[in-house]
């Protein structure tokens, strides 16, 4: 085979046909309010941890909705669970418990 000095770049397009909704669906069973999110970003704006760890509830939820579990996990690890996001959520989503629930579901597959 020839050596060309480059290789085909990987695609980043999100193929929504192939999104694995299982984690999101599991989350919605525990936390049906997760479906209510309108991505306003209040949670991320107020997040104590965000400025230090990049945590953003909005992004976590979005990543879960898009089947990007690893990315969501990376963000979740930076949560300090202070609960400000819950206080500011205009849709009254219990984001703090949502985070805890997610942290638990992550382990479920391995069991």
């Amino acid at each position: 085979m020839m050596e060309f000095g480059f290789s085909i770049s990987p695609s980043s397009t999100m193929n929504l046909d192939k999104v694995d909704f299982s984690l999101y669906e599991r989350l919605c069973e525990i936390e049906p309010d997760a479906k209510k999110c309108m991505a306003c970003g209040s949670c991320s704006a107020t997040c104590t941890a965000g400025q230090w760890t990049g945590m953003s509830v909005r992004k976590v939820l979005l990543d879960i909705q898009r089947g990007k579990e690893a990315e969501a996990a990376r963000l979740l690890k930076g949560c300090m669970l202070c609960g400000k996001c819950t206080m500011v959520c205009p849709r009254g989503i219990n984001t703090r418990h949502l985070i805890l629930s997610l942290c638990r579901i992550y382990g479920e597959d391995e069991k």
Binding site: E3, F4, P10, S11, K68
Partner: protein, 233 residues
């Protein structure tokens, strides 16, 4: 409103390509670069329209603005008649003018590009020419083109090109007086100045990186780190 933005807004491509962006994402949706690079034209246009100098400066020094392929697909779909591609061109222009391009890996590639393309334009009158197209730099041109390059006169001759000869036709030798005119145009319109600028900043960067100009040329032409791709997660 910042100075950089003011300078940017002088550019006709900004006048044409940046009205008001509503962040709808039609540009990114079909952008070839957004698919293969860590790149989002929507965000770039949004950054520019925020007119924050610090943000714009960061942009000018980043790899981000160098990912676009200038295919202009974004122009077709924008509901506000913006052209992200045009904005990018203006940003690149400013990045070069300010010497910020040497701050990023992709920006530094301006050096080999400038040398090769303008060398061709000024010496041959073409942007691309078989004389300066080497197979070793272009292994993807295939064994067939290796063969063409080895037999330029024969192959081009057989296909009716006027290869390196006087008079009209494909690959003809462009008369010196016309090349002189091109040089004069470069002189008058800032093209020459641009070449010198790129040369100057690149030379400085090469020194900073501890390379000779030749090493720097080869390095910028070939080196690709893996931080550019956008497929994580």
């Amino acid at each position: 409103m910042g100075k950089l933005y003011d300078e940017l807004s002088e550019d006709y491509r900004i006048k044409e390509g940046l009205k008001t962006c509503i962040n709808c994402g039609t540009c990114t949706a079909i952008c070839p670069a957004a698919e293969f690079y860590r790149y989002d034209p929507r965000k770039i246009v949004d950054t520019v329209q925020r007119k924050d100098d610090a943000e714009i400066e960061a942009l000018l020094k980043s790899d981000t603005i160098w990912y676009c392929g200038e295919c202009m697909s974004c122009v077709t779909r924008c509901p506000r008649k913006n052209g992200a591609g045009l904005v990018i061109m203006a940003l690149r222009n400013l990045s070069i003018k300010k010497g910020y391009f040497t701050e990023s890996e992709k920006g530094r590639q301006i050096y080999p590009l400038t040398k090769a393309l303008n060398g061709n334009v000024l010496n041959l009158g073409y942007c691309v020419h078989p004389l300066t197209f080497s197979y070793s730099d272009h292994p993807e041109s295939g064994p067939v083109f290796e063969w063409v390059l080895k037999n330029k006169e024969e192959v081009y001759g057989r296909l009716g090109a006027n290869y390196r000869k006087e008079g009209p036709g494909a690959l003809r030798r462009i008369p010196q007086e016309d090349l002189d005119e091109l040089k004069a145009i470069y002189d008058v319109t800032g093209g020459t100045e641009r070449l010198e600028l790129v040369e100057k900043y690149s030379h400085a960067k090469a020194e900073e990186m501890g390379m000779t100009d030749e090493e720097y040329l080869k390095y910028t032409f070939e080196y690709c780190s893996d931080k550019h791709f956008n497929n994580e997660g």
